[in-house]
């Protein structure tokens, strides 16, 4: 392994390792985590790589400590992340709310396993989709990416850092056990071709600076020790960061926290489509499930069915505007996911009663095989 950042080239690499190398290229210089399967390869490689690039690694006493250390580092102006899986992700929820409220950028990698509870630590799941959006109390918005390959563990981790630092929000890389642990080709492009986003810095002197100035959708961020002497609190706060119970301020603050993402959903949201142009049935699948669904969709086409694949690369915001085109053409939808029906709820929220929306749920801790998806495609195919 090279001492500095991973050089451009073609590698044969594990998803969790690609995530680490992507993070380092994105500028991550702090990692705090706690052992949990199947994300352990992230912290193991971080502990080796961070000191090599002048960064800081710490294994904390639990996942609450891990995410809080990440928020501390981020408020010190250092790009920081943690990685975990279901149970640890649950423990982090309160602090993810703090990150949203204090507009602290952070990257949280959740390598999903089967659940609920301790569930299936070594097997795959996609049941944290709703938790990623709604897990902490109160109203806020996050962004969650859905990698489906080691290549995307690299690419989307870099994007996660950029989005977190551009919007001052917690961003989740919602991976899964298979994508995290599988080994595949990863292409690292020349570093100068990789877009890296930094925080927007204050442009006024400290006495004029308001750390949560509501005239901005995303206020410039001052970090600890820069002389701005800011107050940062998880309490509802005004433009100066001071706690308040003012109804007007609360309304304005919470609205802004959600508008940061809602008003930019088309800039943030990403998806990919295959043979959807004339599809009469669009299969919606994400993460590792999309790989199996792709095979099923190709097979169906060979058999003469007009079936396409729509793959969200962001769960949140969900790219509903892109899927709408197919709904307006009259295509039915089949959502395939390794949970008991979470993304299908989102699809129904947007398109219920417009077309037929079918759901294939799955919870054995495996990836649904292409033939099973193909059978479901044939079962629900419009005729």
């Amino acid at each position: 392994m090279s001492q500095g950042l991973l050089k451009p080239g073609v590698y044969f690499m594990r998803g969790n390792h690609a995530c680490v190398e992507g993070a380092l290229i994105a500028g991550c210089r702090f990692f705090a985590g706690y052992p949990i399967t199947p994300s352990n390869e992230v912290s193991a490689l971080m502990s080796r790589r961070l000191p090599q690039v002048g960064g800081y690694f710490i294994q904390m006493e639990d996942e609450i400590g891990s995410i809080m250390a990440v928020l501390g580092a981020a408020n010190g102006g250092v790009k920081a992340m943690t990685a975990t899986s279901g149970p640890g992700f649950s423990l982090m929820m309160e602090s993810i709310g703090l990150a949203a409220m204090t507009e602290t950028p952070a990257v949280i990698v959740d390598v999903q396993r089967g659940g609920p509870s301790t569930g299936l630590p070594t097997l795959v799941g996609q049941g944290d989709l709703m938790q990623a959006k709604w897990g902490s109390h109160g109203d806020y918005e996050v962004v969650a990416y859905l990698p489906n390959s080691p290549q995307e563990m690299f690419d989307l981790t870099i994007k996660a850092f950029n989005t977190a630092w551009a919007y001052r929000i917690p961003v989740i890389v919602l991976a899964d056990q298979v994508v995290g642990q599988m080994i595949e080709k990863v292409v690292v492009p020349p570093h100068e071709e990789i877009e890296i986003v930094e925080r927007k810095r204050p442009e006024v002197p400290p006495d004029m600076f308001k750390p949560f100035d509501s005239k901005y959708l995303v206020p410039p961020m001052a970090v600890a020790g820069e002389g701005y002497r800011i107050h940062v609190t998880g309490l509802t706060h005004d433009d100066r960061g001071y706690p308040t119970t003012s109804h007007e301020v609360s309304q304005k603050l919470v609205s802004r926290l959600v508008r940061k993402v809602r008003e930019n959903e088309k800039l943030i949201g990403e998806w990919e489509e295959h043979q959807t142009d004339d599809a009469e049935l669009v299969v919606v699948a994400f993460g590792i499930t999309s790989r199996s669904a792709m095979r099923a969709v190709r097979e169906a086409k060979r058999e003469g069915l007009k079936v396409g694949l729509f793959r969200p690369k962001t769960a949140w915001p969900f790219p509903h505007w892109a899927l709408r085109k197919h709904v307006e053409r009259g295509a039915d939808i089949l959502v395939v996911e390794i949970n008991m029906g979470q993304m299908v709820r989102v699809v129904k929220e947007h398109f219920a009663n417009l077309v037929k929306i079918h759901s294939m749920t799955w919870a054995p801790g495996t990836v649904p095989p292409p033939e099973t998806i193909l059978a479901k495609i044939k079962e629900v195919y419009p005729r």
Partner: protein, 287 residues
């Protein structure tokens, strides 16, 4: 105006410059010890060689947790029980900052107990000022891990029976580099102890045993009585046997104060930086 008065006034102005006075009146009850401890912290900052901009305060939730909001410093008021891991992340990533956690017994030793013991074990280079008022004052006075046995609280109406942390004994046993205990009645000693903390590489801890009106009310101790109680019972003994300094409600038992422990175990942050230099120097890396 006499020279002494002038000096005093200038000093007061300097301390005020470190406070967000536009946020006053503060939330603390008259007679509460938190404000005095905060003043001592401000005084220690002024006397330190570290620029004010490099002093960072991190607080959790509760009465003492509001301290971060009243200091004109970069101040972080985080989730309940979690100021220590936040401070650890900040200090690790930014070694140039002087990071002080200022919070209460419920926040740091009850909900936050796990973070506390591991920060001491790692010897994280942070300062921790813990106000011990024996109770959760802000939520009405429930019992905490430092409530003395027998004491009445909102949730121990028949007297507390769980058992109580002997805080300096525990923190010393865990390996902290600096362990002290003072009260708001000992403001000079407390200020000096905080100044001492700033010089220490590693975990530095002060327990500030503080009068609390909520706690007093439930135990039939009027505010003024409580201060007298403190004056009468306090004994300074820097070399005290820490196994015997646990606090009780017994008016005949002393409240033992002092700067108990001063050690030089290198901090996690120092050891990490040494390791990093070795790895980077040895491998000829770029990055």
């Amino acid at each position: 105006m006499s020279r002494l008065e002038l000096v005093k006034r200038t000093r007061t102005d300097e301390i005020r410059s470190l406070l967000r006075t536009e946020r006053f009146p503060h939330i603390w009850c008259p007679g509460c010890g938190i404000g005095v401890a905060l003043k001592c912290y401000a005084e220690a900052i002024l006397k330190s060689d570290i620029p004010v901009e490099k002093h960072i305060i991190v607080s959790g939730i509760g009465c003492s947790g509001r301290a971060a909001g009243y200091m004109r410093l970069d101040g972080y008021h985080v989730t309940h029980g979690r100021p220590i891991p936040f401070a650890v992340g900040l200090k690790t990533a930014r070694p140039d900052l002087e990071v002080t956690v200022f919070s209460g017994d419920g926040d740091l030793l009850t909900i936050g107990g796990n973070h506390f013991i591991h920060a001491v074990r790692r010897n994280d280079d942070i300062n921790v000022i813990m106000i011990n008022n024996f109770t959760y004052g802000m939520t009405g006075g429930q019992y905490s891990a430092t409530t003395p046995n027998g004491a009445r609280t909102l949730t121990s109406p028949y007297g507390f029976i769980e058992g109580t942390f002997n805080v300096p004994y525990m923190v010393a046993a865990l390996g902290a580099n600096f362990v002290a205990r003072w009260t708001p009645l000992h403001d000079r000693e407390l200020t000096r102890a905080i100044q001492e903390m700033f010089k220490i590489d590693g975990f530095a801890f002060i327990e500030v045993v503080s009068p609390c009106l909520i706690f007093g009310e439930m135990n039939n101790i009027p505010p003024l009585e409580m201060l007298k109680h403190f004056r009468k019972r306090c004994v300074i003994d820097h070399d005290a046997d820490l196994s015997k300094v646990g606090l009780s409600t017994d008016p005949d038992q002393p409240i033992v104060l002092g700067n108990f422990v001063r050690r030089d175990r290198p901090s996690y942050q120092t050891r990490y930086r040494e390791l990093m230099e070795k790895i980077r120097g040895g491998g000829g890396g770029r990055g």
